[in-house]
């Protein structure tokens, strides 16, 4: 490989390389503790809400660097309402879940309407939302904590003592279900890769070098298998991981493979050009924020499940975690670029830093300082590399 190829490879995969280096750093500092099965499993469960919120936030950021500051409060409000419905009103948990999703989506649509059709700046609209829904959470809960007793709900949304997908084999100390799931995931991944290649070859399209494809497939398969192995040595697949996986796959597909997804990139890249290409730009803004409300509701359910209660203080700074993950994961602060996969890397990076520093026993305040510096560094990198291009 020549020099320019190396540079472009590094540029395209900066955050993956950063993730590897940071993980290696913590492996060294914690004597390998960070990669213990329990920690790997916790990394997912603890950060599940970040993955979900960051995916929604990506759509908002894609439209032009617009953020949603209200998600933390919406998470809290939806969770609070759900908890009240299930515990104080004895509502069936399935109906409560539907109810919560509707509330979240409605909140998103409310904010989306002002942003898209009245053109109130998103920053202001969602800042107002942040205050409104934090206040309403307090009103709904009357300032108190409501404990959740519905174990089905709690377990399904990734909380409580046993928040794992049941093991069908019952081998002591090794969760075969998790391992098998990992293997199946690998096989599906390889199948899609090969099928795509055959289809391209059949139609006579250009295909990438076989070596490149093999190397990539092997690396990705190994990562999946190693991850599955660690999970199976602990207690299996966390239910939160299932939710995260579905969200990531669905939104990854929408952003990369559908017309709707393409419209997000077009609006963020150049709104005027998008408009003159026949795209209804208002609708795109509306969808972005409505969807953010929907995902905030999902994250809200995961939050109350994980903490088996609802409190007026839940969800604080969640918006910052989500926004940070997007920018660290390579979304442009000006909109128009960014991928779901990048956001996942960004969220993982934040999660690893959190976990690593916690294991090392770094003071919580210093953890914030480090995370802030990482976020600033990532955005500086984005801005500077853009300037170079111009």
């Amino acid at each position: 490989m020549n020099k320019s190829k190396v540079i472009s490879f590094i540029k395209a995969n900066t955050m993956i390389i950063a993730l590897i280096f940071i993980t290696a750093f913590f492996v060294w500092q914690t004597g390998g503790k960070i990669l213990l099965p329990q920690n790997v499993s916790n990394l997912i469960s603890q950060n599940a809400y970040v993955f979900v919120l960051a995916t929604g936030m990506l759509l908002c950021i894609l439209t032009g660097g617009n953020i949603d500051l209200s998600v933390g409060s919406v998470v809290c409000f939806v969770g609070a309402t759900g908890a009240i419905l299930m515990e104080n009103r004895d509502m069936n948990w399935v109906i409560a879940v539907i109810f919560m999703l509707i509330i979240g989506t409605a909140i998103g649509a409310w904010q989306g309407f002002w942003i898209a059709y009245v053109r109130v700046p998103p920053f202001i609209t969602t800042l107002a939302g942040m205050l409104i829904f934090r206040g309403l959470s307090n009103v709904v809960l009357q300032g108190l904590t409501v404990s959740l007793t519905n174990t089905t709900f709690v377990r399904l949304f990734g909380g409580g003592a046993n928040c794992y997908v049941p093991d069908f084999f019952g081998i002591e100390g090794f969760n075969l279900t998790a391992m098998l799931t990992g293997i199946v995931a690998c096989v599906i991944y390889l199948f899609i890769q090969i099928q795509g290649r055959i289809k391209k070859a059949k139609k006579g399209y250009e295909i990438e070098p076989i070596n490149k494809m093999i190397i990539r497939s092997v690396i990705i398969s190994l990562v999946i298998l190693a991850f599955a192995y660690q999970l199976s040595r602990y207690r299996g697949i966390p239910t939160a991981l299932v939710i995260v996986a579905i969200v990531v796959l669905v939104y990854g597909y929408i952003t990369s493979k559908t017309i709707l997804g393409r419209h997000f990139y077009a609006v963020g890249g150049n709104e005027k050009a998008a408009k003159l290409s026949g795209i209804n730009t208002n609708r795109i803004y509306f969808i972005a924020y409505t969807n953010m409300g929907f995902l905030a509701a999902l994250a809200g359910m995961m939050t109350i499940a994980r903490l088996t209660s609802a409190q007026p203080t839940y969800g604080q700074n969640y918006e910052m975690d989500a926004i940070g993950s997007c920018f660290i994961g390579g979304a442009s602060a000006y909109g128009g670029t960014g991928k779901v996969s990048g956001v996942i890397i960004g969220a993982l990076l934040m999660g690893v830093i959190n976990l690593g520093m916690s294991i090392m026993g770094v003071d919580a305040n210093w953890q914030k300082v480090v995370k802030g510096m990482v976020l600033l560094g990532a955005v500086i990198f984005d801005v500077v590399s853009k300037k170079r291009n111009n």
């Binding site: 289809k199 391209k200 139609k203 399209y205 250009e206 493979k257 559908t258 017309i259 709707l260 393409r262 990139y265 077009a266 890249g269 150049n270 005027k272 050009a273 998008a274 408009k275 003159l276 290409s277 026949g278 795209i279 209804n280 442009s332 128009g336 670029t337 291009n389 111009n390």
Partner: protein, 513 residues
């Protein structure tokens, strides 16, 4: 002979790929009003930008001698210190500040940490009276008319102790009465010893006010006319402005116009989106036949882009009225996607701001206006899309290593081709091309002309908006001439000359003041 206040000697300025000024010489005597005329893009503004330091010393060749000394202006501040003040065509006033604040913006009275507002407003009022305005200097700029804003600009220049005032088309957006008032003001200042350079397109104004006229064409000075020596006629100025010869810059085309009207516009009216009382397109009626290239000639600000964008799904303006018929059938185009569905395409003049998504790949840009063409039920077939992009690249000869490359990294000519590729993939019947060759080199221009010929050969219709008269004459079967939002003339391509088109534009403007 009076003292020479300013002399610009052998000025040459090159932009990447284009020589904007080529050994220009320009002399201004103290106390005269000197007008600078030339087509759009002839180099007038470039010359003035060098004089005022916007293009700093070192970025051009040649000498600027002012008041007997050679000057090396690095920025506007340097030139303003010497008393050279430029007033740009687009007003540089901040609407939500008062007249007084605007007048001393960047030149504040008092100290850096203690602005003296009493002095500011007292002085501002004095200068306002000099230019004949009765307003209080505490009025917000947004609350006064455009004509008065122009006068505020002049007052602002005076507040900087201007000795040499440069006005770039100051009357372009003014009505007759305001224009007259402004010109009279300049004449009055002249008596008091102020020197002015005026860039203008309006021949009646020029003959009213100018002592000398310098004509610039293609980045070179053609001649300087002196009112006291030469007899100045409009024809003489027009000839000076456009006198170029036609060469083989345009590919030949067998005219295949079919007597079948593809687009017809009747009594089209559009108002400005912000200043709703201002009419931008005024009762325009026009038509295009199948296989025909119809030109729309006119100066900048004539309303051509506004006409095109308002037709294209009401992308511009308010209070739009009139009829559009496509293929003989009246259609209502409420938004861009309806316009695209009816077979209309508008290729913008501003490819970077309105046309392309620079941060996206060539491939994604090409398919953007017709994503349903590469997808099934909302899901994009990326292989198909890639293939479409490859085909378009070959068809339009877009020079790029891969179609996955960001379109922002292409050269101007290739970006323009990518933009055309995008609209050709939308498969329109009628293409409105707005300045399709602006800012690209001669070779790329020729390729774009070939593409236009190919489009009409396929039976499509092309409306070509261009400020380059040669291009309009060389390419079009028929030409509409637009000025101040109206169609002021129509000539057959074969009969068109630069002189008669220019005459249409300038003479209608003459009916003004």
């Amino acid at each position: 002979m009076a003292k020479i206040l300013l002399e610009m000697k052998d000025i040459t300025k090159t932009f990447p790929g284009v020589k904007a000024l080529d050994n220009v010489n320009f002399k201004v005597e103290e106390g005269e009003i000197h007008t600078l005329v030339g087509e759009n893009g002839a180099g007038k503004s470039t010359l003035m930008n060098i004089l005022s330091g916007i293009y700093p010393y070192g970025s051009y060749e040649g000498e600027v001698i002012y008041d007997g000394r050679e000057c090396h202006f690095m920025n506007i501040k340097d030139s303003e210190e010497k008393g050279i003040v430029i007033i740009h065509q687009e007003l540089a006033l901040v609407p939500y500040m008062t007249i007084g604040e605007n007048m001393f913006l960047g030149n504040e009275r008092g100290k850096a940490f203690a602005i003296d507002w009493d002095e500011t407003y007292d002085k501002a009022d004095k200068y306002l009276r000099i230019v004949g305005l009765e307003e209080s200097s505490r009025t917000l700029v947004k609350d006064i008319s455009v004509g008065k804003q122009q006068l505020v600009e002049i007052a602002k220049a005076l507040a900087k102790n201007a000795k040499l005032l440069i006005l770039d088309e100051p009357t372009a957006s003014l009505n007759e009465k305001d224009s007259k008032a402004l010109l009279d003001l300049l004449l009055q200042f002249k008596k008091e010893g102020l020197t002015s350079i005026l860039i203008s397109h309006k021949l009646n104004e020029i003959s009213y006010i100018a002592d000398k006229i310098t004509i610039i064409r293609d980045g070179a000075t053609i001649e300087t006319l002196d009112k006291t020596v030469d007899t100045i006629t409009e024809d003489r100025i027009i000839r000076g402005m456009v006198g170029r010869s036609m060469s083989d810059r345009f590919p030949k085309r067998e005219s295949k116009v079919i007597d079948d009207i593809s687009l017809e516009v009747e009594k089209w009216n559009v108002n400005h989106p912000l200043y709703e009382e201002r009419k931008v397109v005024d009762n325009v009626s026009m038509y295009v036949k199948k296989g025909e290239v119809v030109g729309v000639a006119g100066l900048m600000g004539a309303g051509r882009t506004e006409l095109a964008m308002s037709l294209f799904g009401r992308s511009y303006g308010t209070n739009i009225s009139g009829k559009i018929k496509i293929g003989g059938k009246e259609v209502q185009l409420h938004n861009v996607s309806e316009a695209i569905k009816e077979g209309l395409a508008y290729v913008t003049e501003d490819r970077k701001d309105n046309g392309l998504i620079l941060s996206n790949s060539i491939k994604h840009n090409i398919t953007l206006a017709n994503l349903s063409g590469v997808s099934n039920k909302g899901i994009i077939d990326s292989d198909e899309e890639y293939n479409v992009a490859l085909n378009q690249r070959e068809k339009l000869n877009i020079k790029c290593p891969t179609v996955e490359q960001n379109v922002g990294n292409l050269s101007g000519g290739n970006q323009q081709k990518a933009l055309l590729a995008k609209w050709m993939f939308a498969d329109p019947e009628i293409l409105i091309l707005d300045e399709p060759t602006r800012g690209i080199d001669v070779g790329a221009k020729y390729e774009i002309y070939c593409i236009i010929n190919q489009l009409v050969a396929e039976g499509r219709s092309v409306i070509l908006i261009s400020s380059e008269l040669l291009e309009v004459i060389g390419m079009c079967d028929r030409i509409y001439i637009m000025d101040s939002g109206r169609i002021v003339g129509e000539v057959e391509g074969a009969e068109a000359t630069q002189e008669n088109i220019m005459a249409h534009i300038l003479k209608t403007t003459n009916k003004g003041a």
